[in-house]
Amino acid sequence: MNLDVQGMLKAIDAIGTTLEAHKDYLTDLDSAIGDADHGINMNRGFTKVREKVSQGTYGDLGAILKDVAMTLMSSVGGASGPLYGTFFMRMSMKLAGLQAADASSLAAAMEEGLKGIVALGKAQLEDKTMVDALSPAVEALKKAAGTGASLTEALEAAVLAAQAGMESTVPLVARKGRASYLGKRSVGHQDPGATSTYLILSTLLMSLKEVA
C-alpha cells in the first residue's frame, strides 16, 4: 500500500500526537546535554502544523509537506526548526505533483531531505545528531526499495535502522550544537534530535499500518 494524500495527512496528525506525548521525554534528554527545549519546541511546531494542514485541501503530497516545512520553520526555532524545515521542504520538492508515494519515491524524497539537513547543519555520522538516525534509515529505505519491497516493508527496515542509529548516539561525544560544549560529558546520553527523528519515522510507519 502506498502513501497517498489522506495517508500523509493522517500520518502528520499522528506524528503530532506522538511528539505531544513525548514532549517531556525529549525535553529531559535535551536538558541532559542541551538546553532543555527540544520537546517543547517540537510539540509547539507540530501543534501549529496540525492546525495548518487541517485547514488545507491538498491535491498532492508535495503541497502538504511544503506547508509542514514552512510552518516548522516559522514556529520551532532553535536549530531543529531550520533543520526539520529544510528536511520537509526538500522532500516536498521531490514529491511535488505526486498523489501517492511508493517505497522508491519516498526513499528518493527522504534522501533529498537528508541532503538538505547535512548541507545546512554540516553534521556527519557519529557527530551525535539527528543524522545518526536519519542517514541509516534512508540507506535502509533505499536498499529495501531497490529489492522491490512494499512501502510498509521498506519503512519497517528504515525504522529499525533509525532505532539502532538513535541508540548508537549514546556512547558518542557530541560535535555539533549545544551538546558539543560538554565534550566527553555528553557520553552516555541519547541525542534528542536523533530521538525525535526516530519518533517521526516510527509514527509514520504505525500510521501507515493502521490504514492498511
Binding site: 536538558s31 538546553d35 520551532v76
Partner: protein, 332 residues
C-alpha cells in the same frame, strides 16, 4: 518552580508588551511577528538588528533605541527566533542603507539568521552579518559548534550602534563589529542553575558547595565543576583565562565589564569588580571604561561573567557616544 507569570506560553509576549508599555515612543512592537522596533524607525542609516532566545533580558529588546539597535527579534526562552521574525523586522526598520545582523554564535541562531539574510538578499536588500564568539570557556572550538557569543555582544551592540547612528556605511559598520569581536573575550560562572518556564524544572543541578566555571548563558556546562571558592580566587581564575587568551598585555587599555546572570545582587557584582580591578592593576592592564550590572542574563541564575574589551581611541569615543535604550542610556 515559582515565577511571576500568567500562562506559561505567554511569558515572552506579555513581557514584550510590558517593555513597549513602559517605554512608549522609545520602542514599538511589530504588528505581526515577535520583534521590538525602534520607535522612530525607519531611519536613513544602516539598520542594526540582533536577536536570540529570550531569558537574557535586557538583551536584546532592552537595547533597541537611539545609538544602539534598530530592532531585536526574541525567540522563546533560550530558543532562537525564526527567520520570518528577522525578515519582517528588517523590512520594517531598513532605511535604504542596508542591514547588519549581529548574531551570537549558537547553531540555531546562526541558521535562522542565515535563512533570513538569504530571504532579504533575494529581494535586493543589502545584508551583512557578524557572528559574535567571545566565550573563552569553549576550548576545543575545532570539535564543537565553536565559541559562544556572550557578554561581548552587549559591547558590540553599543559600539556598532553608535557607528551606525553616526552615519557609518554598511561596510564600515560590519568591519567595526568584526574588530570588536576580535578584541573582546569573556567567561562566566554559575552558583545556581535556572529554570526555563516551559520546562518547569532547573536545567542542571549544582550541590550547595559547588560551582560551574565557564558556564554559558543558557546553563550550558563550561570548563569544569568544582568546589566553591572565594570571590577573589574565582575572579582570578576567570580573568587569567581571559587575559591569556587574547592576550591582553601590560599597558593595554580595556573596558572591564562585570555582568550578573540575573540572580546575583549588585553588591556581589561590585565586590567581584573590585577583585577584577586589583588583578588587572597587578598585570599593568589599565581599565579605561567599566560596566557593572545585569546586562546579559540567564533568567534567575546566580553567577556572573567577566568581559574585557581592548580599547583604542575609536572604540572609546563610540562607547561614550549618547545612547537611549531601556537597558543602557547616557549622554542624551
Amino acid at each position: 518552580m515559582k515565577k511571576l507569570m500568567n500562562k506559561v506560553d505567554d511569558v515572552v509576549v506579555q513581557s514584550l508588551a510590558g517593555l513597549e508599555a513602559a517605554h512608549p515612543g522609545l520602542v514599538k512592537l511589530h504588528p505581526s511577528v515577535k520583534a521590538v522596533l525602534r520607535g522612530d524607525a525607519p531611519k536613513a542609516k544602516v539598520a542594526v538588528i540582533s536577536g536570540g532566545g529570550s531569558g537574557h533580558e535586557p538583551l536584546h529588546g532592552g537595547y533597541v533605541g537611539y545609538g544602539m539597535l534598530d530592532a531585536a527579534c526574541p525567540g522563546e526562552v533560550f530558543t532562537s527566533p525564526t527567520p520570518d521574525q528577522m525578515y519582517e523586522a528588517a523590512k520594517a526598520v531598513e532605511g535604504g542603507k542596508g542591514v547588519l545582523f549581529i548574531v551570537k554564535n549558537y547553531t540555531g541562531d546562526v541558521m535562522n539568521f542565515q535563512m533570513a539574510a538569504d530571504m532579504l538578499s533575494g529581494e535586493g536588500v543589502n545584508v551583512a552579518q557578524v557572528v559574535i564568539d567571545d566565550d573563552v570557556a569553549v576550548q576545543d572550538s575545532l570539535y564543537t559548534a565553536g565559541r559562544r557569543g556572550v557578554g561581548g555582544t552587549v559591547l558590540a551592540e553599543k559600539i556598532v550602534g553608535a557607528k551606525a547612528e553616526a552615519g557609518g556605511s554598511l561596510e564600515e559598520v560590519k568591519a567595526l563589529c568584526e574588530k570588536v569581536n576580535s578584541q573582546v573575550r569573556s567567561m562566566g560562572m554559575a552558583l545556581t542553575p535556572c529554570t526555563v518556564p516551559a520546562a518547569g524544572k532547573p536545567t542542571f543541578t549544582l550541590a550547595d558547595d559547588e560551582m560551574e566555571i565557564g558556564i554559558g548563558i543558557h546553563g550550558e556546562p563550561g570548563r569544569q565543576r568544582m568546589k566553591l571558592q572565594s570571590a577573589k580566587e574565582i575572579v582570578e581564575m576567570m580573568a587569567k583565562a581571559i587575559v591569556d587568551d587574547l592576550p591582553f598585555k601590560a599597558g593595554d587599555e580595556v573596558l572591564a565589564f562585570v555582568n550578573g546572570m540575573g540572580g546575583t545582587p549588585q553588591m556581589e557584582l561590585y565586590l567581584a569588580y573590585n577583585d577584577l580591578a586589583s588583578y588587572l592593576r597587578e598585570k599593568g592592564i589599565v581599565i579605561a571604561r567599566s560596566l557593572v550590572g545585569n546586562y546579559i542574563t540567564s533568567l534567575e541564575m546566580q553567577g556572573f561573567s567577566i568581559t574585557l574589551l581592548k580599547l583604542d581611541d575609536e572604540l572609546k569615543a563610540l562607547w561614550d557616544a549618547p545612547v537611549e535604550t531601556a537597558g543602557l542610556r547616557w549622554g542624551r
